[in-house]
């Protein structure tokens, strides 16, 4: 028998879950937990905003595939965490956010810093808990990890009133750490049916997404694609599952995919959708997506099957397990007629990357940086044009190399996610491609980066605009620009230095490539400001709500409206 407080119990249970780093911010309602954290083996990383702490946890979870934890106090601490939690929900990232709450006796009285964290987080979590006694922690903490990592991963919130943190509890033993439930068994008849569909298809395409990364299925995916000669398209979040230079890999589909990729999908007769959720940024107008294709949809979340598109065959299961069961049943094929057609379209409508040789132009920044960045570095982005340029142009080659806010599209994601990735993998570099709008949304985390001396490089594509907004106003709002230009232009290099972070401004450099190489070679955090043309657009682009075949491109669009 031994005695400890609820707060101490939380730390022991987190240690037993294998948690070694927790980003967070203390406050009145979680101080008992911070007191217990002092004598724990867990290292605390003091974020400068709870949203930063939440995204650091995401950066750790996305890099490792394991659940990560963040801390916030009640009230504003919890509300500041919300964006990062919602972001984790939409991208299926396992995080456990543990918040302090006012003492139970004060719940419902509008106490100082009281907010209904439980109620607020219902729609943005996989599950959430308001813990009512220290004894409940014995079930809740392991269960939180089980829920976060089982099936389709996602965020969990554990709200712990201060009196529960302070309560003393007697224990004989600790409960077993929570772990993911076994995935549902793979059903032979479903696999047989799927194999028949694939073996008899003439123009099949593999459509892959984040589920491949989450289930660690990229190896079997590569094997299957190779054996069957089936071309592969990826969603934004699936990048890295297939190596960029694989001959069967067609890159990203959808809103900013290559025109040929979307055209190939139009002609496909079988869409093998593996670990994807038919997001509208990928499918365009869903009713007109792959009009000639049967659909084989494999996903761990049964509610995704038929949510957007009714599949010919839907299989609920871990996509890696299903693909492994499927592989021996697939005929080795050449699909030469289909691949000829695929290559013809690729030749006729490739992804254009103007300026790829010029370090001061968007594609050039990404391509040139990619040559200088170590192959094992983790790449994050913020949200906007720079995100799409990076997604299009960076030669991703391994799963978990890439972190971006796909579903929620949250500006401010990139820097704290990169810090989290670098914390989780201290022997690697994390590079955040950012925009000048997005970076300002969590720029305070440069202080965290300096304090922790993490190997994080921010490459800032500075266009003095909310570029993607400006682009939409140009293309879809008759060039009526409003609220998308920054009239005050901060000196980002000076700001970074002010935080104690090294900074380089390629606009002022006589040899930008040399400066970039130098910046990336130094250890520790740094910011590289790269001024770019202010009115550049990302092409091609499917107008929101349109079918993917109706992509617009730079010149064709200009001609149309000249």
């Amino acid at each position: 028998m031994f005695q400890l407080t609820g707060a101490e119990l939380i730390m022991r249970l987190l240690e037993r879950q294998g948690i070694t780093i927790i980003p967070g911010i203390p406050g009145g309602a979680n101080l008992p937990m911070y007191d217990a954290l002092r004598s724990s083996k867990i290292r605390h990383v003091l974020a400068r905003h709870e949203q930063g702490a939440g995204f650091m946890a995401q950066g750790m979870a996305r890099a490792t595939g394991r659940a990560a934890v963040c801390f916030g106090t009640s009230g504003p601490g919890a509300t500041n965490l919300i964006t990062a939690i919602a972001d984790a929900k939409l991208d299926s990232i396992p995080i456990v956010a543990i918040t302090g709450q006012v003492p139970q006796a004060m719940i419902g009285t509008d106490a100082f810093q009281e907010i209904d964290t439980y109620g607020l987080t219902i729609p943005i979590t996989k599950h959430n808990y308001l813990v009512r006694s220290a004894a409940e922690l014995l079930d809740v903490i392991p269960d939180a990890f089980r829920v976060a990592t089982s099936g389709r991963p996602g965020p969990v919130v554990v709200d712990v009133p201060k009196d529960v943190q302070n309560a003393r509890i007697e224990l004989e033993d600790f409960p077993e750490p929570g772990k993911a439930d076994a995935p549902p068994p793979v059903r032979d008849e479903e696999v047989a049916h799927a194999a028949t569909m694939i073996n008899s298809a003439r123009r099949p395409v593999l459509f892959i997404g984040a589920g491949i990364i989450a289930s660690e299925a990229s190896e079997i995916l590569r094997t299957i694609a190779g054996r069957t000669s089936i071309p592969v398209v990826s969603t934004l979040l699936g990048l890295g599952a297939m190596p960029d230079d694989h001959p069967l890999y067609l890159g990203m589909l959808g809103m900013h995919g290559a025109r040929s990729t979307n055209m190939i999908l139009e002609e496909s007769d079988l869409l093998i959708a593996a670990g994807v959720r038919f997001d509208d940024r990928a499918t365009g107008k869903a009713a007109e997506f792959c009009p000639n294709a049967k659909i084989l949809h494999i996903d761990i979340d049964p509610s995704e099957l038929g949510k957007i598109k009714q599949p010919t065959l839907g299989i609920t299961g871990d996509v890696g397990s299903v693909l492994r069961a499927l592989a021996p049943r697939l005929h080795s094929t050449q699909h030469s007629e289909w691949l000829d057609r695929v290559n013809e379209l690729r030749g006729a409508h490739p992804l254009a990357m103007p300026g790829a040789e010029d370090l001061l132009q968007p594609y050039g920044i990404v391509r040139q940086a990619a040559e200088l960045i170590p192959d094992n570095a983790i790449i994050t982005t913020d949200v906007g044009q720079h995100q799409m340029w990076t997604a299009q142009a960076f030669p991703f080659s391994w799963p978990r190399q890439w972190q971006t806010s796909g579903g929620l599209g949250t500006m401010g994601f990139g820097l704290p996610a990169a810090i989290g990735a670098a914390l989780a993998m201290p022997d690697r570099m994390a590079v955040c491609f950012s925009g000048d709008g997005s970076l300002l949304m969590n720029i305070q985390e440069l202080a965290t980066a300096a304090e922790e001396d993490v190997n994080v490089k921010v490459i800032l594509m500075n266009n003095a605009h909310l570029g993607l907004v400006r682009q939409q106003q140009e293309l879809f709002y008759g060039r009526r620009f409003h609220a998308s230009k920054f009239h005050a232009e901060p000196d980002f290099a000076a700001i970074a230095r002010g935080f104690g972070v090294a900074a380089y401004d390629l606009g002022e450099s006589t040899d930008p490539r040399e400066s970039m190489a130098h910046a990336l070679a130094e250890s520790g955090p740094c910011l590289i400001n790269v001024p770019i043309t202010r009115e550049e657009n990302v092409y091609p682009m499917v107008p929101p709500g349109a079918a993917n075949r109706d992509m617009i491109e730079g010149e064709s669009y200009a001609k149309q409206y000249a």
Binding site: Y118, G119, I122, P123, K126, H127, N128, L130, V147, D301, P302, S303, L305, G306, K307
Partner: protein, 106 residues
């Protein structure tokens, strides 16, 4: 997203929905919010609801009158994902239970 087919149909004010769904859920103060929140955020039409504790009170039985013909499979799949939902089934007899409650409420 409203179901366009149902949108044009004027529901009778006395409608109890097109199907009754019966749930067994964990009984705690937040569970109603989880169920009702799911209906609200996924735009499922909920017409009637009844909830009572079962056995020793650790679980509750819930009866839902829903107006969802096309999306009933999706609705059930979403309900099954909720951690506090232990069982979900379509229960045509639930209608009678609702009729009895309606008599009481009249």
């Amino acid at each position: 997203m409203q179901n366009s087919m149902l949108e044009t149909e004027t529901p009778t004010p006395t409608s109890l929905g097109t199907a009754t769904v019966r749930l067994v859920v964990r009984n705690h103060p937040g569970v109603m919010s989880h169920i009702c929140g799911l209906f609200a955020r996924r735009s499922f039409n909920l017409e009637a609801i009844a909830c009572l504790p079962l056995d020793d009170g650790t679980r509750s039985g819930m009866l839902l009158g829903v107006r969802e013909e096309d999306r009933i499979t999706q609705l059930i799949a979403q309900l099954r994902k909720l951690e506090d939902v232990l069982d979900v089934r379509i229960d045509p007899q639930g209608r009678e239970a609702f009729e009895a409650v309606r008599e009481y409420m009249a």
